[in-house]
């Protein structure tokens, strides 16, 4: 591998994807793949499901269940769908797992590459735009059924608060004030968050709300995985504040789930 060096006229600048294209190493989503992919084939593709994010007083919380499905089968029980994008932002994915994970990897590298080349990180809005452009590039594959719909959340250090972004398959970027959800169980999760969301929520309240939302989604949507105490698999929950991105320890999430479960079973037995 030699040192990449370019003429000034075709220098890819701080874009890592641009660099890969120059070197002929980019995964090109724009070349149409086999057109034969019908519903039968799509069922073979691994899909990730419910991811959620909400704002709270000091920042944002972002979370996702752990199940991946291929058609009616559970293909992975402990898939991770919530990732740090850089030190002050995170991305969560729903949809076709293969392209989604590749997109996350590319997004992380894109942000890191920019930060190193330019000597300072992109603004939060710049990061959100990058993800939007990557989705737009992915559109041809999405039209063939490999849909990826991410969520992006981060702490805007210039403005001093947390921000949330939802996307659609075309790369449309929608900033939301309170909360965002994506994936097959998102409808159920959304309702729970809608009822419990307050701008003034503390970190603990926000984390509990995410846990209740994911529990409800798993309760009603077969593609969303609930807490699995037998295998010690719990949703991933991360908090992003002025101090950066922190993934919660498994023990804390397990304990909070325990409390939610007690709460639910009391209600069930009371009715």
């Amino acid at each position: 591998m030699t040192l990449p060096n370019f003429d000034q006229s075709d220098d890819p600048g701080p874009s890592f994807y641009g660099l890969l294209r120059h070197l002929g190493r980019a995964v090109d989503y724009e070349t149409p793949g086999p057109q034969a992919a019908g519903p039968a084939d799509l069922a073979e593709i691994t899909h990730g499901t419910t991811v959620v994010a909400a704002r709270f007083a000091d920042g944002v919380v972002i979370a996702g269940d752990r199940r991946a499905t291929s058609g009616n089968l559970i293909s992975h029980r402990s898939m991770n769908k919530v990732f740090p994008a850089d030190r002050w932002s995170g991305v969560a994915i729903a949809g076709a797992a293969g392209p989604a994970l590749e997109m996350v990897k590319m997004f992380q590298l894109q942000l890191e590459h920019y930060e190193k080349v330019e000597g300072r990180p992109l603004s939060l809005e710049g990061k959100a735009n990058q993800l939007s452009q990557m989705l737009r590039g992915h559109l041809p594959a999405a039209m063939q059924g490999m849909v990826v719909v991410p969520l992006f959340a981060g702490y805007d250090r210039r403005r001093g608060f947390g921000r949330l972004f939802a996307y659609d398959v075309t790369g449309g970027r929608y900033e939301e004030e309170d909360f965002v959800t994506s994936g097959s169980g998102s409808l159920f999760a959304r309702t729970v968050i809608k009822l419990g969301h307050r701008d003034t929520n503390t970190r603990d309240e926000a984390v509990d709300l995410m846990i209740r939302a994911l529990f409800t989604a798993a309760d009603d949507d077969s593609a969303t995985g609930g807490p699995d105490s037998m295998r010690h698999i719990y949703p991933i929950v991360s908090v992003i504040t002025v101090d950066g991105y922190t993934e919660l320890a498994e023990a804390e999430i397990a304990e909070r789930f325990e409390r939610v479960l007690v709460d639910f079973s009391e209600r069930e037995s009371a009715s």
Binding site: M1, T2, L3, P4, N5, F16, L19, L20, L23, R25, K105, L109, E112, H113, K116, V117, G119
Partner: protein, 225 residues
């Protein structure tokens, strides 16, 4: 047809080397010191924006002296090399030696084939998981590489700084002593460098992720006192 004047190859190389050395000697120097918890990179640099020391990859840092635009171009080429390699294989496969070799090739090529050699000296430093995994490669304008052990000095007055630093250097210094040794070696007997004239960064010996960290003015002051 005009015949070009014959110039002996020895003379040609010497002229180029003199030219490059003169260019490098105009700038200020830089020292790197291995300490118990990582690698320290310390440059005399009054500018907050035109950096001499920067991050290449998880465990690799870059330092350059001489002409800013030339070593900055090398820095970016290094970041590109490392990021593409990490993307193609894995983050663990990005190693400082391959990068140093690439730099050496590039500088050597430019030194012999281009109209003007690069007026730079660079250092590729890497922090290991253990103390004996630390690496420092010093690459000169003509592409020659030295594998430095313990500490390295780049720049015009490298000889005298190296002498001073070798007197105060010991294995397993802590960060504060390493920084004080580097700063007093850079300054010499007549000058005391203030924290505002220094650019300091470290490669922190952590288990995973990006190890490169810049020290702010306040932190430098605290360590120097």
């Amino acid at each position: 047809m005009n015949m070009p004047f014959y110039v002996a190859p020895e003379q040609l190389m010497k002229d180029r080397a003199d030219f490059a050395q003169k260019g490098i000697a105009r700038g200020r120097s830089l020292a790197a010191v291995e300490f118990d918890e990582g690698v320290l990179l310390c440059a005399e640099n009054p500018s907050r924006n035109l950096r001499k020391v920067s991050e290449i990859y998880d465990r690799i840092a870059f330092a350059g002296v001489g002409r800013y635009n030339e070593y900055d171009q090398l820095r970016i080429a290094g970041i590109r090399h490392a990021d593409v390699k990490g993307y193609t294989y894995s983050r663990d496969d990005v190693d400082p030696q391959a990068l140093a070799n690439q730099y050496a090739q590039m500088l050597g090529q430019i030194f012999t084939h281009e109209t003007k050699p690069l007026e730079v000296e660079i250092l590729v430093a890497a922090v290991g998981y253990e103390r004996d995994g630390d690496r420092m490669f010093h690459i000169r304008y003509d592409g020659s590489v030295t594998d430095e052990d313990g500490f390295a000095v780049l720049g015009g007055e490298a000889e005298s700084i190296r002498e001073r630093l070798s007197a105060s250097y010991a294995e397993d210094l802590d960060l504060g002593s390493a920084l004080r040794a580097a700063v007093s070696a850079l300054g010499g007997e007549d000058r005391t460098l203030a924290s505002s004239e220094l650019e300091v960064a470290i490669l922190d010996r952590i288990d995973r992720g990006r190890c490169f960290r810049r020290l702010e003015n306040g932190q430098i002051q605290e360590l120097l006192s």
